[in-house]
């Protein structure tokens, strides 16, 4: 209910603002909706959204898997931490644009280059978060698992993973928003499809309804994934915690 109200307020503010700014700069909601429906009818909207989503899924999965493994290693093994730390600081501060442009130069304007560039941008934040998680692992529970001779898999699944899951959820949440932002830049610079490509086209044609149609559809997909995937996962992984008021 509160969410609906919040959405209605967004539309209202947009409509009022468009009255002041004029149709040319900020078209009112119905114009954008018409553009959106036209794009959906032609199938373009879903094709480009799909392309972007596929890139996001691949880059996100790759970065999370690698980031979790590297972060865990760095949190548990001192040598790995000392070796990896300078690289981590370099990657953390590498501007997204530099990674994308270099990837396109070195690997050509290919899908692999785009996904690798996006994953590289997200990787260091996942590593940093998971490293903190691995450092915070409870030594007392480790001892308990050793004494009771828990098998490796059971130890990983029931002792270590639940302790890491809040960190994994945090890395996923912040990483996802980072990936959403970067994927469009990568598409704008070197892909023939995807939401970023379409926004680039709309920008060159100064087609503002089209630009907004794609931006908002994209935002809707992000919101949907956030509510249907990320939040339930977070709720599940903290189910055992005594509820805060």
């Amino acid at each position: 209910m509160a969410r609906l109200l919040s959405f209605a307020m967004f539309v209202a503010i947009w409509w009022i603002a468009s009255l002041f700014a004029g149709d040319a700069k900020l078209p009112p909601p119905p114009t954008v909706l018409t553009a959106m429906i036209a794009e959906a009818r032609s199938g373009n909207l879903f094709f480009h959204l799909g392309a972007t989503l596929a890139r996001v899924t691949l880059a996100f999965t790759l970065a999370m898997a690698l980031g979790t493994a590297i972060g865990y290693l760095m949190g548990r093994v001192r040598l790995a931490d000392r070796l990896g730390d300078p690289w981590l600081i370099l990657l953390l501060n590498l501007p997204a644009l530099v990674a994308i442009v270099l990837a396109y130069i070195w690997a050509g304007l290919t899908e692999v280059a785009a996904i690798a560039a996006i994953a590289i941008n997200k990787l260091p934040t996942a590593v940093v978060t998971l490293r903190e998680g691995a450092r915070a692992l409870d030594a007392a529970l480790d001892e308990m698992a050793t004494v009771f001779a828990l098998p490796r898999w059971s130890r990983f699944r029931h002792v270590i993973l639940p302790q890491l899951s809040p960190y994994i959820a945090a890395a996923a949440r912040s990483g996802l928003s980072l990936v959403w932002k970067i994927v469009l830049v990568a598409e704008l610079l070197g892909r023939p499809n995807g939401v970023g490509f379409e926004i680039g086209v709309a920008f060159q044609l100064f087609d503002i309804p089209l630009l907004l149609a794609y931006s908002l559809s994209f935002a809707a997909v992000v919101l949907l994934i956030e509510t249907l995937l990320v939040q339930p996962f977070e709720a599940r992984s903290s189910r055992w915690r005594p509820r805060a008021a």
Binding site: E143, V147, F148, A149, P162, W240, R241, P242
Partner: protein, 242 residues
């Protein structure tokens, strides 16, 4: 199954870099089915010793011999349950081979029947201890280690839990090592009482109790207790603190 312990010394390095002697010569042996009780003042290194005996701390001078691969049941001073798993899952994870009748019997004795599906965060300390006990007994241990299982419980609760522990131990004749600072618990539960000095720990006395646990009368218990107190007071470094 026999446990032989000869720890010549164990030192700790504090965060400030100073050396602390925790154990300075502890030797004793424990036979199969025997309940040994380590009694000593708080902070005398009892818990450190248990970690060594359980194989968690290899960094000490001396020798500990126990059959390799013996199943150990350990009740830590803090219950050390997995907060994200239910009571039943906590027990089953440690003892995957335990069958349902055995678990229900354990939960029955330890009064946990109503709490099987609760999470540890929803339990009182007394109940969490019982879960830790259930976990340790569920693995059918060959060597059972109990670290202050009755500490920080009120007197009535402690005495009830003590009776439950006695019942569980009597039912299976498992080699047990119990650590406590309470002489009364020691005399009521142990077959052999090993008195430790304040830190760094040494053995002050090794006193076997011949009468079986169930047959000890109040008079006899009082006599053994006064004997133990005499030994403790007789030692050159007086028992400090508790």
């Amino acid at each position: 199954m026999r446990l032989e312990v000869e720890i010549a010394s164990k030192t700790f390095k504090s965060a400030a870099g100073e050396q602390h002697d925790v154990i300075a010569g502890v030797a004793f042996a424990l036979n199969a089915g025997e309940v040994g009780v380590l009694v000593g003042p708080s902070g005398c290194g009892k818990s450190t010793m248990l970690r060594i005996l359980a194989g968690l701390d290899p960094d000490f001078q001396g020798r500990v011999s126990r059959p390799a691969g013996a199943r150990i049941g350990f009740v830590f001073q803090e219950p050390r349950l997995l907060p994200w798993r239910s009571v039943e899952e906590n027990v089953r994870l440690a003892a995957p081979l335990a069958d349902e009748p055995k678990l229900s019997a354990l939960f029955e004795i330890l009064e946990l029947k109503a709490h099987r599906n609760h999470f540890p965060g929803e339990l009182s300390l007394g109940l969490a201890r019982r879960v830790a006990l259930a976990r340790a007994f569920a693995v059918e241990p060959e060597f059972l280690i109990l670290d202050e299982p009755l500490a920080s419980l009120d007197a009535a609760l402690a005495s009830r839990l003590r009776d439950e522990i006695a019942m569980l131990i009597d039912g299976r004749s498992v080699m047990t090592l119990l650590v406590t600072h309470d002489v009364d618990d020691a005399v009521r539960l142990g077959d052999r009482v090993i008195l430790l000095s304040p830190r760094p720990a040494r053995v002050l006395a090794d006193l076997p109790i011949r009468t079986p646990r169930g047959a000890r009368g109040e008079v006899e218990i009082a006599a053994i207790k006064s004997e133990i107190m005499r030994r403790i007071d007789g030692c050159p470094t007086k028992q400090g603190g508790s």
